[in-house]
Symmetry: C2
Subunit: 171 residues, 2 copies
């Protein structure tokens, strides 16, 4: 019930769980109830999640989950490339579902704080060119655009496209 994803890039929860388990196995680590629950919750929400959000989500199903376990699990997910740390300008620390990490950038409304994802091939291409021009091999990038959404700008009937994403967290 938590697997409604809105962007086409996303891999489904099951696949991601599979990759996670594969990683655990490879590293001879154990697959536990807590890890599964946390990973499940994490994969089921797209966009971005704070540690605290993830803790609360997980506790809603198992109230005894501790902070440390969430941190530790998120570290594992990051190691195997299924999660990525993201620190936005104002200091909020968030994690995002990866696997598709390379493939989207962020558009953030500085009024609503909501985050929208987008992709633009022209920009990607140009980035490659810039990196090459310095002799670099581009491994990954991060692009964040900060601005005002239609609503924040006071446009009548203006609406923030990012609201949609934020609302979805409520389900």
């Amino acid at each position: 019930m938590h697997d409604r994803r809105h962007h086409p890039i996303g891999t489904d929860v099951e696949t991601l769980m599979g990759q996670f388990h594969a990683y655990l196995e490879k590293k001879q680590l154990k697959s536990t109830r807590q890890r599964d629950l946390i990973a499940q919750k994490f994969f089921s929400t797209d966009g971005h999640m704070s540690i605290e959000e993830l803790l609360h989500l997980s506790r809603s199903e198992n109230p005894r989950i501790g902070y440390a376990t969430v941190y530790r699990t998120l570290k594992l997910l990051t190691e195997c490339g299924l999660a990525a740390l993201r620190r936005f300008g104002d200091g909020q620390t968030m994690y995002e579902t990866a696997g598709d990490t390379e493939h989207h950038d962020h558009l953030i409304c500085i009024e609503c704080q909501h985050v929208l994802e987008f992709q633009n091939d022209d920009i990607e291409r140009e980035q490659e060119r810039v990196a090459r021009s310095f002799g670099f091999n581009l491994v990954r990038h991060r692009l964040e655009l900060y601005g005002l959404c239609p609503r924040a700008r006071g446009i009548k009937g203006g609406w923030c496209p990012a609201d949609e994403a934020a609302l979805r967290k409520g389900d």
Copy 2:
């Protein structure tokens, strides 16, 4: 002696100090020895600086400078747009000289950790277009490219353009 800047965009230290003083005056704040020293050191190093680096630099001239004063001064500088907070992926928190904040992006070597600045108008233009296409008014952005510099890639005689910037900190 600390004002060697390498990129053409930068305003010189004196001008920046002037802007800082103007801001203090406007806000009816006082210009003190400590604030001046810290701002001076900050403006004199380009690229990025951590709180700790700035503290040490300042203490080398006045050992009694405290952490709190550095934090407070950096907050002032940020308020008036002369400094900008930057949180890189791995968690290092840095400040950078602004005024030219809007005008450059970052190319980071994931091996050396050094940071190189660049500008690309095509990318900027495309960013504007993307924002507009979502109905956003673009206020600012942040672009970071992570990759491997020539040296890190093991190219013979390969050198990391970012080294230059890092070396300059030593003066």
